[in-house]
């Protein structure tokens, strides 16, 4: 696996902070997406059945990631679902980063799923995306 994430301890007293990193921007996107999905439910307890293909683009990868994570939070409420996985591909065409994703989940069911936090929003607080050597890293704080 070319990405990782870890939840941050003291960065958000009442909320959830995480740091995700990857060997490429795309891998970092995967790590951040997984961290968000796991903030809401244990994905191994979520079956499939609900799918949404989403495409977004932006010249700024930080803005694109922020929009994408916010979109995941949106679907949690709009469709009443939690998520098992999100397959994603990130390409660059000229100056523009293009994200193509397939978000997979299932309607919320507290009897069969291990549910975690109801994320209210992705915040800009301490939000930072940076490259260090061959590693891309992002820090995200979620309001819960």
């Amino acid at each position: 696996m070319a990405w990782t994430f870890r939840f941050l301890e003291d960065i958000a007293l009442a909320d959830i902070g995480f740091e995700a990193e990857g060997e490429s921007v795309e891998e970092m996107f995967r790590g951040a997406t997984q961290a968000l999905i796991e903030s809401m439910a244990n994905p191994s307890t979520v079956s499939g059945g609900w799918e949404r293909v989403i495409e977004r683009s932006d010249v700024d990868p930080a803005a694109l990631l922020f929009e994408w994570l916010s979109e995941v939070v949106y679907w949690k409420d709009a469709a009443g679902v939690v998520f098992r996985e999100a397959s994603l591909a990130l390409t660059r065409e000229g100056e523009v980063w293009l994200l193509r994703t397939c978000l997979i989940g299932a309607p919320v069911n507290y009897q069969t799923q291990e549910l975690h936090a109801d994320v209210k929003g992705v915040t800009k607080h301490l939000y930072e995306l940076k490259q260090t050597g061959d590693c891309w890293k992002v820090r995200v704080v979620l309001d819960v």
């Binding site: 960065i11 009442a14 409420d77 009443g80 919320v108 507290y110 975690h116 936090a117 109801d118 607080h125």
Partner: protein
């Protein structure tokens, strides 16, 4: 051009990077989580002068006892002084004793801005617009309820959906949801989800004017349209509580509010505008980031994004925020309807016969236009409660003698308080006071310290029955993660910005 401060953002420092040390200039031997000078005004009021940060337009004042102040995280000091830099701020940037690190504004933050020269900021309201508290009395006592507690909590858990992604039983068309946005709790009463007299016992009668659904995004509507009557998760809850005689501090005021003690049962609800309000906040933070460039505003933290109150963007946010605030009043009203139904089912009597009257409903995440000595101000309360004193003309007749009820929720293990507002709060803190106990431990640390299932069992042994959607969520809300609410209440009572009336002890709790 409206200017905040242009200096680089010290608040973006990681809280733990700041050393814990005292300064020689500090008048007292105190050990605070800040390098700033913090001067004692009284034993419960502490002031950071404008010299402590470039761009501060007014001093910052923190309401806290010495012990509470010393325990406050560094984010409070950074953030309250960042707020003091915002254009048009009046008198002081304030933080209540339950204050802790937030986004932009600290939780517990209060700031008032001149409506003509000042700004409005979603960061001063929070993501959960009109997150608030509601208290419902009953004629039942502990003796009546204890034998049926398991059945009652099961019925409440069934009737009031909680947790991530939960949807409610009310199915609305888009048009009808727009009526919820404009009519708030009034819509609920029209639909039979409450009694007309409930409305007199809510801040603003459960309906704030000036809500315009046309400036709310489709995303916000889609996120919220199915969530009326749901609790959410995090620190939101529904709690069955008991009031014993020895925990009533002001019998006359308690009686005037319908609380007589003798192990009386009451129900407390803590929740807000759910996904709808969260999306309104997210949408307008983006709008304001762009608007700030247009209006030449710079802030010390992106989450302090703001716009002049009188600008089109400022007015649009205010109107959208009022849509969310009304939806939150409606949400708590539908939940109240479900609570009344659950009690009626379990105890075999109509809710009216059980005396299930509303004590009060009050917001603690909101911005409102109010009149003070300086004139019309847009008062931001983020994790702070309005606390108007006796005689305030804004209050309904029922509270002119007592002052406005202030409902402060503690942790699910300890207890909560009912207070009333004071004239001093109106004079000193823009009619504002505390809202809860305030966290002291991160969610991750709480989960490492205690397991949800064990906590549930321990609480049952102590006479508190907990129904939770998420065991990890339950662990995150353990009592050890919060300040001692009694000390927080004591500090506002001594400061005179609220007067304590009684303490409430939990016997049953529903968490998301």
């Amino acid at each position: 051009m409206i200017c905040g401060s242009s200096s680089r953002n010290p608040s973006n420092s990681h809280p733990s990077r700041l050393s814990r040390k005292s300064r020689k200039s500090r008048p007292l031997d105190m050990n605070l989580n800040t390098d700033m000078t913090v001067n004692r005004v009284t034993d419960e009021i502490w002031e950071i002068p404008i010299s402590e940060k470039p761009g501060m337009l007014v001093p910052a004042r923190i309401y806290a006892t010495r012990d509470i102040l010393q325990a406050m995280d560094s984010g409070v000091f950074d953030q309250v002084t960042n707020v003091a830099c915002l254009p048009g701020i009046c008198r002081y940037a304030l933080c209540m004793p339950d204050g802790h690190w937030g986004y932009g504004f600290p939780i517990g933050g209060v700031a008032a801005f001149d409506v003509e020269r000042g700004v409005i900021s979603p960061g001063g309201v929070g993501y959960d617009i009109n997150c608030g508290m509601r208290l419902i009395r009953t004629d039942l006592t502990l003796v009546d309820v204890q034998p049926h507690l398991e059945k009652l909590m099961t019925e409440l858990f069934r009737k009031v959906p909680a947790g991530v992604g939960a949807s409610g039983f009310v199915r609305l068309s888009r048009e009808e949801f727009c009526r919820v946005m404009t009519h708030g709790a009034r819509w609920c009463v029209e639909q039979g989800y409450g009694w007309h007299r409930d409305l007199a016992r809510m801040e603003e009668g459960g309906c704030i004017e000036g809500a315009d659904p046309s400036i709310v995004t489709d995303h916000a509507i889609q996120r919220g349209i199915n969530q009326l009557g749901t609790l959410g998760s995090g620190n939101h809850y529904l709690e069955v509580q008991v009031v014993s005689n020895e925990r009533i501090f002001d019998q006359a005021t308690a009686a005037a509010l319908g609380i007589t003690g003798h192990d009386q049962i009451v129900v407390m609800v803590h929740c807000g505008s759910r996904g709808f309000g969260h999306q309104v906040a997210s949408d307008y933070l983006k709008v304001f980031e762009k608007a700030m460039r247009r209006y030449g505003i710079t802030v010390k933290d992106q989450q302090l994004a703001c716009a002049p109150f009188r600008s089109p963007e400022g007015q649009d946010y205010f109107s959208a925020m009022n849509c969310a605030a009304n939806t939150a009043f409606a949400n708590r009203q539908v939940i109240t309807h479900q609570i009344r139904e659950a009690f009626a089912t379990v105890f075999g009597q109509p809710a009216e016969a059980l005396g299930m009257e509303l004590v009060y409903d009050v917001a603690h995440n909101i911005a409102k236009v109010e009149r003070y000595a300086e004139g019309e101000l847009v008062v931001h309360r983020k994790g702070a409660t309005r606390a108007f004193g006796p005689g305030s003309l804004e209050l309904p007749e029922a509270f002119r003698q007592t002052g406005q009820p202030v409902i402060c929720g503690g942790s699910m293990e300890t207890g909560s308080y009912l207070l009333v507002g004071t004239d001093r709060a109106v004079r000193d803190t823009f009619g504002s006071t505390m809202h809860g106990s305030g966290r002291t431990m991160s969610r991750a640390q709480a989960k490492r310290t205690v397991r949800g299932a064990e906590l549930q069992q321990q609480m049952k042994q102590r006479g508190i029955l907990v129904k939770a959607v998420s065991m990890s969520g339950l662990a995150e809300e353990a009592g050890l993660a919060y300040k001692d609410i009694s000390k927080v209440v004591e500090s506002v009572d001594r400061a005179g910005i609220a007067k304590k009336v009684l303490e409430l002890r939990p016997i049953g709790n529903i968490k998301g």
